[in-house]
C-alpha cells in the first residue's frame, strides 16, 4: 500500500471525492439537459473547479457562512444545499429554495449556511464582512467564506472589503478561485499583478496561494487557514489555483483557450486525478467508486426529475417578497389606510433634528444590543460629521459604534451582511451624493435580497444619509436629492422627515423594520429646526402621511426640507385669500396615497413639491396617480414642481432659483387655482 505517502487521511480523501462526484454529476446532468434542450437556463460551468468546495466541505459545517457567485453551483452542492431545491430554483419553480424567484445565480439557503449568491462580480465580499461581524459579536465560532473569481480581484468592492476585514480582524476568508479567466479575458490582459494573494499582505493580513486542484495539499492549506480565522486571528485571502475548463456560459469546452493548453489542463483536472489516487493508494476499489458515482448520479437524476414536476412559480407571486408586507408595495388602485401614530409620550424636550436622531439611536442601542452604528467618522469625539452619534461610542464601545474606512461599498455591505444574519445595523453615509459609489450594494443587494431569496433571508438594515441642498455653497456633488433613484429600486423603504419629532419616530420605525430602510436627513434642518420632542421611545409608522396644515383650495404635497417651503408658501397664499392644505408625506416608500387622495378629493387641486430634479421625479409619479384616480373630481390637473434639469450650481443666485422655494410654490399655486 502506498497509503503512507498520502498527505491526507484516506477517509477524508474519500469524502472529498464523494463531494467531487456529486458536483461532477450535477455539472454533467445540467450540461446534458441543456444540450438536449430538456431545459433552458443560463449556466456558468464550474467544470475543473470541483476540488475547491469538495475539500472545504470537509473542514467546515453548515454553521459556517458561505457566499458565492453565479458560477458557484459546485459551492452550493458541497455546502449542502438540497439538490431538489437547487434544481427547482434553477428552473424557476415554486419548490425552489428561493421559490424560483432568484434562480441559480441568487441562491440563498440559510439552512445550509449558503447565505448569499450574487451575479455582480465581487459584490459578495463586502456582504461577507457583515456576516463575519455578526459571528464575531455574538461570540459564535463560525467562519465566513466568500468565493469569487480571479477577475473579481480587479473590482473596488473586493478591495474595500479586504481593507475593512483587515482593519477589523474579521473571521472571513476571501476565497479567490483563480481559474485564469474573467469571462473572455485572461489574466495577463487585465492585471500586471504577479499573483493575487500578495494583495492581502499589502493590506496587513495573511494571504496564501494554494493548489486548488490537489485535494491533499489544499486540505492541509485550508485547514491551517480555517484554524487561523476561527482562532480569531483575522481574515485570510486564499488564492486557490484552478482552471475553468468550460466556456464563460453555456456547455462544453473553454473555447477561448489554446487547444493544447486545454488538453494539458484536462489531464490535470482534479476529479479524474483524485479518483485515480484513491485506486492507486488502495483506498477504494473500482467497484466502490463506481457505486459512489452511481449514487451521486441517482441523487441528481431524482432531484431533476422531481424539480421538473414542480410548478413554475406563477405571476401571482410578482409582488410578494418585495417587502415583508405586500400591502407596502405600491400599485394602481391599492391605497391602504394605515393607522397614524396616535398620541406621543407627553414628556418632551427641545431638540434639534440632530439631537432627535441621536436620541432615537441611543434608545435603540440601549434596548437592543444588536443595534450598531457604522460609518465614516461616526466615533467620538465628533460622533459623525454631523454629530448625530455624539457620545454613543463612549457609552457603547468600539464594536457598537464603528468608524469605518472611507469605503461606502464596504460600509453598506457590512451593514447588509450583518442584517441578513439578524442584526440591526445603522449605516451612515455622509451625503446622498455618495450613493453613487455604493449604489450596487444598496439597489442590487440590500433592496433585492428578500425578493431574490423568496424571503428565505431579508435585510433589516437602516441607512442614514444626509442631503445638502437649499443652503447654498455646497456645489453639484454635495447638494443633490437622490430619492428618485432609491424609489425606482423595488425593495427599499425611504423616509424623509421635515422636523425633529418625525425624525426620531421615523428612525425608530426604520431600525425596527424588517426591510432595508433609508432615512434622508436634510442638512439644513439638522441644526436649525428645533422642536418639542418626546423623550421616551415612540414610533412614527412608515407609510403614514400627515396633514400639517388644513386648507380648502389646493393641496401642497411635500417632504423633507421642502415641506417647510410649502408651509411658508401656504402662509403667503393665505394672505392672498387662497387656502392651501399641506400634506407631509414623511415616508416616500411605502407611500400613503390614501391620505394624499383624501386631501385632494377635498381641495380638487394638487401640487407636489420637491427639491429633486422635476424631470422623471417622484412628483410626476404622484401627480399622475392623482390625475388618474381623481380625474372627475379635480378642478385643475395635479402638477409638480421640482428642481430645474441641471446639476446644482455653486452660485447662490442659480441654486436658489433652480431649486423651488416658497415664491415658486406661491406662483404656481396661484396659476393652478386661477385655472
Amino acid at each position: 500500500m502506498e497509503q503512507s505517502n498520502l498527505a491526507i487521511e484516506p477517509e477524508v480523501l474519500k469524502a472529498i471525492y464523494g463531494q467531487m462526484a456529486r458536483i461532477r454529476a450535477v455539472d454533467k446532468a445540467i450540461q446534458a439537459g441543456l444540450s438536449a434542450g430538456k431545459f433552458m437556463f443560463t449556466y456558468w460551468p464550474m467544470t475543473g473547479q470541483e476540488c475547491i468546495p469538495a475539500t472545504i466541505s470537509q473542514l467546515i459545517s453548515k454553521d459556517d457562512y458561505m457566499i458565492t457567485t453565479y458560477r458557484g453551483i459546485h459551492d452550493q452542492v458541497a455546502k449542502g444545499v438540497d439538490l431538489y431545491g437547487m434544481f427547482a430554483e434553477a428552473l424557476g419553480r415554486e419548490d425552489g429554495v428561493n421559490k424560483g424567484k432568484g434562480g441559480s445565480p441568487h441562491i440563498s439557503d440559510p439552512s445550509s449556511g449558503s447565505m448569499v449568491t450574487t451575479a455582480i462580480v465581487g459584490a459578495g465580499a463586502p456582504i461577507a464582512n457583515g456576516l463575519a461581524i455578526s459571528a464575531k459579536e455574538r461570540g459564535e465560532n463560525r467562519v465566513t467564506i466568500v468565493n469569487f473569481g480571479d477577475g473579481a480581484t480587479s473590482i473596488g468592492a473586493v478591495h474595500e472589503a479586504m481593507n475593512l476585514a483587515g482593519a477589523w480582524k474579521l473571521p472571513v476568508i476571501f476565497l479567490c478561485q483563480n481559474n485564469e479567466w474573467g469571462e473572455y479575458t485572461p489574466i495577463p490582459v487585465y492585471t500586471s499583478s504577479p499573483n493575487f494573494y500578495g494583495r492581502a499582505e499589502a493590506l496587513g493580513f495573511k494571504g496564501v496561494q494554494l493548489d486548488g486542484n490537489d485535494p491533499a495539499s489544499f486540505y492541509k492549506g485550508m485547514k491551517e487557514v480555517i484554524e487561523h480565522v476561527r482562532g480569531g486571528n483575522g481574515p485570510v485571502f486564499v488564492e486557490a489555483k484552478t482552471f475553468r475548463m468550460g466556456p464563460h456560459a453555456g456547455v462544453g469546452d473553454n473555447y477561448n483557450v489554446d487547444k493544447d493548453y486545454l488538453k494539458t489542463k484536462k489531464e490535470q483536472a482534479p476529479v479524474a486525478k483524485t479518483r485515480q489516487l484513491l485506486i492507486d493508494a488502495g483506498i477504494c476499489s473500482e467497484d466502490e467508486l463506481a457505486s459512489l458515482e452511481a449514487a451521486a448520479a441517482k441523487e441528481v437524476d431524482d432531484a431533476i426529475a422531481k424539480a421538473l414536476e414542480s410548478t413554475v412559480t406563477p405571476a401571482t407571486e410578482t409582488l410578494t417578497d418585495v417587502f415583508a408586507n405586500v400591502d407596502d408595495v405600491p400599485r394602481r388602485g391599492h391605497y391602504p389606510s394605515r393607522p397614524a401614530e396616535g398620541d406621543l409620550p407627553s414628556e418632551t424636550k427641545t431638540m434639534s433634528m440632530a439631537e432627535a436622531v441621536l436620541d432615537a439611536q441611543h434608545i435603540a442601542m440601549k434596548k437592543n444590543p444588536e443595534v450598531f452604528i457604522l460609518g465614516e467618522d461616526v466615533g467620538d469625539p465628533h460622533g459623525g460629521v454631523f454629530g448625530t452619534n455624539k457620545g454613543l461610542q463612549t457609552e457603547f464601545g468600539n464594536t457598537r459604534v464603528r468608524p469605518t474606512p472611507i469605503a461606502e461599498q464596504a460600509i453598506i455591505g457590512a451593514a447588509l451582511g450583518s442584517s441578513i444574519a439578524g442584526m440591526s445595523p445603522i449605516a451612515e453615509i455622509m451625503f446622498t451624493d455618495f450613493f453613487g459609489v455604493c449604489i450596487d450594494q444598496v439597489y442590487n443587494h440590500a433592496a433585492k435580497q428578500r425578493y431574490m431569496s423568496g424571503s428565505a433571508t431579508h435585510a433589516p438594515m437602516t441607512i442614514r444619509v444626509q442631503a445638502g441642498g437649499g443652503m447654498g455653497g455646497f456645489g453639484a456633488q454635495h447638494s443633490q436629492s437622490m430619492e428618485a433613484w432609491l424609489l425606482h429600486s423595488p425593495g427599499l423603504k425611504v423616509v424623509y422627515p421635515s422636523n425633529p419629532v418625525d425624525a426620531k419616530g421615523l428612525l425608530t420605525s426604520c431600525i425596527n423594520d424588517p426591510d432595508p430602510c433609508i432615512m434622508i436627513e436634510s442638512m439644513m434642518l439638522l441644526y436649525t429646526l428645533k422642536g418639542e420632542v418626546p423623550v421616551d421611545e415612540y414610533s412614527i409608522p412608515l407609510g403614514v402621511a400627515k396633514v400639517v396644515r388644513e386648507g380648502t383650495d389646493v393641496t401642497l404635497i411635500s417632504y423633507g426640507w421642502m415641506l417647510n417651503q410649502a408651509l411658508a408658501a401656504a402662509e403667503e397664499l393665505a394672505k392672498e385669500g387662497i387656502s392651501a392644505e399641506v400634506v407631509d408625506l414623511r415616508s416616500l416608500m411605502p407611500i400613503d396615497y390614501h391620505r394624499v387622495l383624501e386631501s385632494v378629493k377635498k381641495t380638487g387641486r394638487a401640487i407636489v413639491v420637491h427639491a429633486a430634479v422635476e424631470f422623471c421625479g417622484y412628483g410626476a409619479e404622484i401627480a399622475s396617480t392623482i390625475n388618474e384616480e381623481l380625474w372627475d373630481k379635480l378642478k385643475a390637473p395635479a402638477t409638480r414642481i421640482g428642481a430645474a434639469y441641471a446639476p446644482i450650481a455653486y452660485s447662490n443666485a442659480i441654486e436658489f432659483s433652480q431649486v423651488p422655494g416658497s415664491a415658486h410654490i406661491v406662483a404656481r399655486a396661484k396659476d393652478v387655482v386661477k385655472s
Binding site: L34, S35, A36, G37, K38, M40, G250, G252, D253, Y255
Partner: protein, 76 residues
C-alpha cells in the same frame, strides 16, 4: 423512455444554431457522453454529447440553421 433532442440554448444571447454535422449515423446506437453532432453558433463550434444511451433518430438535416428549442432528433 426516449429523450428528445432540441436545438439547445447555450448562452443568454443564443437565438439559433447551425447543426453543422451529425457525427453519428441515423439509427446507430450511442452511449451517453458520445459526441453526436457538431453545433455552430456565432461564437464557436461545439461537440454536443448524447444526454442518454440508445438509438439515435435524426430529425433534422445537417448544415441548416435551427431556432433554439426546435426538435432535431431523439434517442430511443
Amino acid at each position: 423512455m426516449s429523450t428528445m433532442l432540441t436545438m439547445p440554448k447555450l448562452e443568454m444571447s443564443m437565438q439559433e444554431g447551425t447543426l453543422a454535422e451529425w457525427v453519428v449515423a441515423d439509427g446507430a446506437e450511442v452511449k451517453e457522453g458520445d459526441v453526436i453532432y457538431l453545433l455552430e453558433t456565432d461564437k464557436t463550434s461545439r461537440e454536443i454529447e448524447a444526454p442518454a444511451s440508445g438509438k439515435l433518430v435524426q430529425k433534422a438535416e445537417a448544415g441548416e440553421v435551427y431556432e433554439c428549442g426546435t426538435e432535431i432528433g431523439e434517442i430511443v
